[in-house]
């Protein structure tokens, strides 16, 4: 038997956010597709375990991240190198940014590339806390760690991100 129609509707309302998160995790559109589909398949299958009144978006992010660890981390994409010698995760995914001027586009690309160079736990914490605006308690739940660890990861992630961006500036 399928999930409740209201639950399906509410869950699908977060599709774009989940896809964006999946794309930053997998760095591949095809794998992000698979990851999001698998996330929804699990969420709908186990919808009875979701407690109404809690944060559905955080619950979905948690499923997506756990699924990513289960199926996609195994491939160890960090070692993947393209034919030109540049790691494939260092190539921007950015294709549809506002193109008002060249400098703005460059900033978008720098940010995206820098984010992709961060370790997963730093990338995730910035995406969830800063970009998606989840409360720290929910981020802690998604990442299965204390709130204090989330705060410290945010601080260190920003430090690392700043360093990478400065590198881009000097090049």
């Amino acid at each position: 038997m399928g999930a409740d129609p209201d639950f399906e509707r509410d869950a699908l309302a977060h599709l774009d956010a989940l896809y964006n998160f999946a794309l930053y995790l997998t760095r591949s559109a095809a794998e992000a597709d698979d990851l999001v589909q698998e996330t929804y398949r699990r969420a709908l299958r186990f919808s009875h375990r979701f407690r109404p009144g809690t944060h559905l978006r955080a619950w979905l992010f948690q499923i997506l991240r756990n699924t990513f660890f289960t199926f996609y981390r195994i491939r160890d994409r960090e070692a993947a190198v393209a034919e030109d010698g540049v790691p494939d995760w260092d190539v921007p995914m950015f294709h549809d940014a506002p193109d008002d001027d060249g400098r703005a586009t460059e900033t978008h690309m720098d940010l995206e590339r820098a984010m992709r160079r961060l370790p997963e736990e730093f990338r995730t914490v910035l995406l969830l806390a800063e970009v998606e605006g989840l409360p720290l308690e929910e981020v802690a739940r998604v990442m299965s760690c204390p709130v204090g660890t989330v705060k410290s990861r945010i601080f260190r992630a920003k430090e690392r991100l700043r360093g990478i961006l400065r590198d881009y500036d000097t090049k």
Partner: protein, 233 residues
Amino acid sequence: MTGRYDDLSDEELGRRLVSELPRHAAPPHLARAIRAAIPARAPRLPWLAPTVAALATALVLALFFVPVLPRIVPADPTERLVRAVVSEHTRVVMWGARRAGEVAPASLPELTRETGVALARTLAGDDQLTLVGAEPIYVDRRRGIAIHYRDADGHLVSYIAVPATVTINDRDRVQIDRWRPALLRDSGFATWLWRQGEVACLIVSDRVSESEMDTFKDYFKRLRVATEPLPAY
């Protein structure tokens, strides 16, 4: 020359992440694929819950009234009498005699008055059968008397006499010395049935196997010789 990312505070970096980090919308085919993968729900059956509830209630009521529902009784009067006597015997096996230990010559007149059966002679017990008690009974719409014994192995043996006319099939009869009682079985019990004047006499025991038949025949002989019931009225 000042770089674009010099002196970038935490707040400013956070703001830039929100406003400048590209956000990728899910491609349209993804939403379609997810919707297509959602399994179809089974149609709701609004009548199912009330029907199940009604059936459950009916079942509970049936179970509640089963003990008081009329039992299917055999059409043959002899079989009916045997079944009633076996039922009385099983009651005593389960719950004991109502008047255990009250049989004394002094109480016999009262038993006769209550049962309509007079006992000219009765077995008061011997080396094999110990008298447990005697009591009036009401079986198959007739008054009668039941005398209960316990044998050496602890088995209950019931002797029952009822003023009644019964028909005994010749094929059921068994020769024991000079007598030919009928051996009938009902509900896992063996019963001797014979007529003694105008009284139908029965002996019930759970000794039903072939190996115990000699013992059961011996009980018949002891009781047949030692007991003589008569209609009192």
